[in-house]
């Protein structure tokens, strides 16, 4: 079974909701509220940015998705993001992305670098936005972020209709300025209409942003550009190294 499988198998039946399942009972709501009052949930409070952008499946670059990243910064060079398929409270958790500075990226082995993508184009083209934040507020940080690289694993392929998270994670790539990296117009328009923004206008506004030119981006990143290949995760049955019986 692979992240690149066309058909994940028979879909669970139901009323079409994603995921399927009975609505939460009042009792469960009460338990939840109670727990929430007693637990500090610190990592959630450290999420400091909401970024709305796009990503592309590395094993099938015709499939592009609109993503919502909830970002936590651990230091000047490292961020970790919980990624959802929308920004409302019913959003599905579809993956995790890690973001690192160029300096840290250069320290990775070439084999590891292949799994990462660059952010320069995504930011300069206006695809990457912080909803509700005035552009001028976020501008200083965009130059820093434009030099970063990301590694994004998608664990729930809701865009192909999976009602539950199926299969192994898929590796995602970032929008780029040519070929398979170009985000479809209708996908961008849908996003723009929802947030009442213009990606075109942002692109113009960001024309002066100092971002790495294509030549300055490490060629191991955005692997498909130079090599025409993507990556899939496969899962194999094997002997488990054990301490005692399993299961």
């Amino acid at each position: 079974m692979a992240s690149s499988d066309e058909n994940p198998g028979a879909m669970p039946p139901g009323d079409g909701s994603v995921p399927p399942g009975k609505p939460m009972t009042v009792g469960q709501h009460i338990i939840d509220k109670g727990a929430q009052m007693m637990q500090s949930l610190k990592p959630m409070k450290k999420m400091s940015q909401h970024v709305c952008t796009f990503a592309i499946y590395s094993h099938d670059m015709t499939r592009q998705i609109h993503t919502h990243h909830y970002v936590t910064r651990l230091n000047q060079d490292f961020l970790q993001c919980a990624v959802y398929d929308s920004d409302d409270s019913s959003a599905r958790l579809i993956g995790v992305e890690y973001i690192i500075s160029g300096g840290i990226f250069e320290s990775l082995s070439p084999e590891e670098q292949k799994l990462w993508h660059s952010h320069a184009h995504e930011i300069k083209s206006g695809l990457w936005v912080n909803p509700r934040v005035p552009e001028m507020v976020v501008r200083p940080e965009l130059e820093n972020l434009a030099k970063t690289y990301g590694k994004f694993w998608c664990t729930w392929q809701t865009d192909r209709g999976d009602k539950l998270p199926m299969g192994p994670p898929a590796l995602m790539m970032s929008p780029q300025e040519l070929d398979l990296g170009i985000v479809k117009l209708d996908l961008v328009k849908k996003r723009d209409d929802k947030y009442n923004i213009s990606t075109e206008a942002l692109k113009t506004a960001r024309a002066e942003l100092a971002v790495p030119e294509a030549e300055r981006i490490n060629p191991q990143a955005d692997y498909w550009k130079q090599h025409g290949k993507g990556f899939a995760i496969e899962v194999e049955s094997t002997e488990m190294k054990k301490i005692t019986a399993f299961p």
Partner: protein, 241 residues
């Protein structure tokens, strides 16, 4: 045998956050909406081990939200602190939903009955009687976990490919030192809680034989593949940039 204590892990490389960045992020944190994240209402602590290697075990702090009564989605951190590292994701489904999955898919999912009944899976900070109201439901669910950051082998960055993880299914699997570390830190006793949870039951149909890897180990492998399906014409791509 002792397991690695990951609480003495290496620092993530990088400079301390600059003041200007902190200020900006205080602004964004205030102005922006965090809808999906605000749904996260629960902190659960448990242990995972690698799907192909039970000897590598990781303390896993789950931050969970309900999509509905039968489905939860969780972010997994190595510790429940401000600087906790986001190391994975878990989805929890009811037995009913689990049974609708194709057999191939069922292998990824693990049962929760033992973890809950043994007392090892718990909700830090929540009194026993309240926890149990929820955990008695969790005992009947199945979970699917991937880790992206192998903190137990000392990685200071999330290197490599996602790992399928499994959960405890019987006594004798969890390292004593890892268990005691958690018991001491949270001032709890798994054995005591096990007694309190003796009344709980697992899935109505019993633990499915295809769950928990179908009894086998599961290992992920990276494959280089074509980046687009064969025969698809891209020359007519609408130009955006």
């Amino acid at each position: 045998m002792e397991a690695v204590n990951v609480l003495t892990h290496p620092q993530i490389p990088g400079e301390p956050t600059q003041t200007s960045t902190t200020l900006l992020e205080k602004a964004t944190a205030t102005i922006q909406g965090f809808g999906p994240v605000n749904k996260i209402h629960q902190h659960l602590c448990a242990f995972h081990f690698y799907g192909h290697d039970m000897t590598r075990q990781v303390e896993a702090h789950h931050f969970c939200g309900h999509q509905n009564e039968e489905f939860r989605q969780c972010l997994i951190y190595d510790r429940p602190d401000d600087d906790g590292r986001l190391i994975g994701i878990e989805y929890l489904v009811s037995e009913e939903l689990f049974l609708t999955l194709p057999d191939e898919e069922k292998r990824f999912w693990h049962s929760h009955e033992f973890e809950v009944k043994s007392g090892v899976l718990f909700m830090p900070g929540v009194p026993g009687p309240i926890q149990r109201q929820d955990l008695e439901k969790v005992a009947k669910t199945y979970g699917k976990v991937f880790h992206f950051w192998q903190v137990d082998r000392g990685d200071s960055l999330p290197l490599g490919i996602p790992q399928v993880m499994m959960a405890l299914t019987r006594d004798g699997q969890l390292y004593e030192n890892l268990a005691q570390d958690v018991e001491n830190r949270y001032n709890i006793s798994f054995a005591k809680e096990r007694e309190n949870r003796a009344y709980m039951t697992g899935p109505a149909h019993g633990i499915h034989p295809m769950a928990n890897g179908g009894g086998k180990g599961l290992q992920t492998v990276l494959r280089e593949v074509e980046c687009k399906p064969a025969g698809v014409d891209h020359s007519a791509a609408r130009v955006f940039v």
